[in-house]
């Protein structure tokens, strides 16, 4: 008998000898497919204006920076200003995301953008979030052809475009967005709440442990188009 059978056999035996009452198979099936929602904090409810304000405040609490733009084409200028502000070269590795196709990068002669996965030498990256969760100022990104995961972790500076139409109050709403159309789970879903940090040495909180030292969130006002 293999370990699988031994372990499952031990579990079944322990359950049988205990006072625990297993559910009917049908109940389990329903539980796994119904996606019932448990308690959701009240602060994750309210209209988009309120949630946007909360998202910005919560992101700030976790040391992320935010700014708002009205047109995606403003991104080039945003990147240049941000990089200059941190004394960085005007090079950014960007996600091959459909939303970024409308940006005219060429009009900024001092900005170099390249699409693809992150390399160790990349100083800055630009990704597009699939959701933003106001409850804790959390970004939701997931792997896929439009969003390489390495962009989220390797470069020192991570810049994320968050369309305001994708801003929700609670994490559960982000799961529902992901499930639309019966899509399978992406290989990875990343919840990102602020830049990387560690307090492993004498409990001193320091930003920039292994992941990005800075996280900059650009909220795109796309309410009219959505």
């Amino acid at each position: 008998m293999g370990s699988r059978e031994i372990i499952l056999g031990n579990i079944a035996k322990s359950l049988k000898e205990s006072a625990l009452v297993p559910s009917e198979p049908k109940e389990i099936e329903i539980r796994l497919s119904a996606h019932s929602i448990n308690t959701v904090p009240q602060r994750g409810t309210g209209d988009l204006e309120k949630q946007t304000a909360l998202f910005i405040a919560e992101a700030k609490r976790v040391e992320a920076t935010t700014e708002c733009i009205d047109d995606v084409d403003e991104l080039g200028g945003v990147l240049l200003r941000y990089l200059a502000g941190h004394n960085l070269a005007g090079c950014v590795k960007i996600a091959p995301n459909a939303l970024l196709k409308n940006v005219n990068w060429a009009k900024h002669s001092t900005l170099t953008v390249a699409q693809g996965i992150a390399e160790d030498s990349d100083q800055a990256s630009l990704s597009v979030a699939v959701a933003g969760v106001a409850e804790t100022g959390t970004l939701v990104l997931h792997s896929g052809p439009e969003s390489p995961t390495t962009l989220n972790f390797l470069p020192d500076n991570h810049i994320v475009l968050l369309p305001q139409s994708r801003l929700v109050g609670a994490y559960e709403e982000a799961w529902e967005m992901l499930r639309v159309g019966g899509k399978t789970m992406p290989r990875t879903v990343n919840w990102i709440t602020g830049p990387s940090r560690s307090a492993d040495i004498e409990q001193t909180l320091l930003l920039g442990a292994h992941g990005p030292r800075r996280l900059h969130i650009v909220i795109l006002n796309d309410k009219k188009s959505s």
Partner: protein
């Protein structure tokens, strides 16, 4: 790792006498517990979420086999592999096999207490594969060949000076005169050292805070981003998870995540919460090509439904350590194994047996703080008491303590004699003074060497009661 739990008393004495450790432990008191309170104050639904979280775990444990099988099916559907391991040796062999198939020379690792439990690092090293811990705290203690002293802050027992010494000794290729006085310099050095290793590694091993039956997903929660570099860059990702980590749905995992970081570090949410499902998909541009899960039992299936069943709800947040007066006095190494504090004192005897570990359940004042702060409302004091009873029944423990208990039981069953002795004791203590605390007492050096004994205020409780003082 090899347990030294049998030397608990000696370990504890070492801890109390270690000034650097004491300074580190006093920092702990002002850190996590205060931040936890702040986070709770910002979330009025915290208690309701605790109830939900407890309910989710209870339901899952009562159907553990069903959920594990559902989880396994989903992992396989997503292109991953599931391996079942009865014990540590089993798990080590499985992991070594996967590493060999991958032709691995180096393996990066995210922080995982399960991997400490099975001592995978030693096993890989013996077999010519180099494991590299990447969590800053774990990296430091790996260089020092020490076990973790705290389940979420493994190097909490060290001062920055000790870390600097370790780095100077181990990073010989760097200029010896470099300044490592500040935590920032230490962090930067570790970041620089580990960056190359992340990129060169052939396999990445992480633990799992939870696994999800609905989707076949494993979750890791980190602040540094090391777990993500560990599982994104190498060609093979191995997840090691114990069987009680399964929860039904993404929503259930979400509820538990809402209480996890708040109870642990006092953050509302950890920086990186990562949900991984299978290997790189057809259109993905990066990510591991192979995804393996090792499901470890190591004694847990036997705890299920029994006296220590509730311990299986534990989500390893460390709130019980952070609030335990005993942990904060002796530090984590005293417990002699991977786990420490109240959760360790309950879990270690369950996993290693009482014969080696019978002193651990004694490491409690029964103040009840651990149960009060536990997000899963695990009755830790009740279980510590059960272990003490079992240990007494099995005639374990020192002769002295067994004699003391027997003498106390003899007296407690004879109220008149008990009152007489107590009255005598109080009068005797009164000879040494009636105010405050004793810092030294004849014949009680074992107690007063490391703590004060409260002086009796007046007569015994019964005597005062009779006098109408209520």
């Amino acid at each position: 790792m090899q347990s030294t739990s049998r030397n608990f008393s000696e370990n504890a004495r070492h801890g109390i006498a270690d000034e650097k450790l004491q300074a580190a432990l006093s920092r702990l008191s002002h850190g996590f517990p205060l931040k936890r309170l702040e986070a709770m104050a910002r979330l009025p639904e915290f208690e309701a979420l605790r109830d939900d979280a407890q309910g989710i775990k209870e339901h899952t444990l009562a159907n553990l086999d069903t959920y594990l099988e559902a989880y396994e099916t989903r992992v396989i559907e997503s292109g991953g592999h599931v391996h079942w391991a009865s014990d540590a040796a089993d798990a080590c062999d499985i992991i070594l096999g996967i590493c060999r198939d991958a032709g691995a020379k180096t393996v990066t690792k995210g922080k995982s207490m399960i991997s400490e439990e099975i001592a995978i690092n030693e096993y890989l090293e013996e077999n010519g594969i180099q494991p590299i811990e990447t969590d800053l705290g774990e990296y430091i203690i790996q260089l020092r060949h020490e076990p973790p002293s705290h389940i979420i802050a493994p190097a909490i027992h060290l001062s920055k000076g000790q870390v600097a010494e370790t780095f100077k000794k181990e990073h010989q290729h760097l200029p010896p005169g470099r300044n490592l006085d500040e935590p920032r310099a230490l962090l930067e050095e570790a970041r620089g050292e580990l960056r190359r290793k992340f990129i060169a590694a052939d396999v990445g091993i992480t633990g799992a805070n939870m696994v999800i039956a609905e989707t076949g997903t494993s979750i890791i929660v980190t602040n540094e981003g090391n777990g993500d570099l560990t599982q994104t860059l190498p060609k093979t990702h191995i997840v090691i998870a114990s069987i009680e980590k399964v929860v039904p749905t993404l929503e259930d995992a979400t509820t538990i995540l809402r209480v996890l970081a708040r109870s642990a570090t006092g953050q509302d949410m950890s920086v990186y919460t990562t949900f991984s499902t299978g290997p790189k998909q057809a259109q993905d541009l990066d990510g591991p090509e192979n995804y393996h899960v090792v499901l470890l039992d190591n004694g847990r299936s036997k705890m299920l439904g029994g006296e220590f069943h509730d311990m299986l709800r534990c989500i390893r947040c460390s709130a019980c350590l952070n609030h335990c007066p005993v942990y904060k006095a002796i530090g984590g190494h005293a417990y002699g194994w991977v786990y420490s504090g109240p959760m360790g004192a309950v879990l270690i005897p369950g996993l290693l047996g009482l014969a080696e570990t019978h002193d651990l359940p004694g490491a409690s004042t029964f103040c009840g703080k651990c149960e009060e702060v536990c997000p899963m409302r695990i009755p830790l004091p009740r279980m510590l008491r059960s272990w003490r009873e079992k240990s007494h029944q099995a005639s374990l423990g020192s002769q002295k303590s067994r004699f003391g208990l027997a003498a106390w039981a003899f007296l407690a069953r004879r109220p008149a004699l008990y009152r007489l002795c107590m009255g005598l004791g109080v009068s005797l203590l009164a000879l040494f003074g009636r105010r405050g605390r004793f810092s030294a007492l004849p014949l009680a050096g074992g107690w007063t060497a490391s703590r004060d004994l409260a002086a009796p205020e007046a007569g015994t409780f019964m005597a005062q009661w009779k006098q109408g003082k209520r």
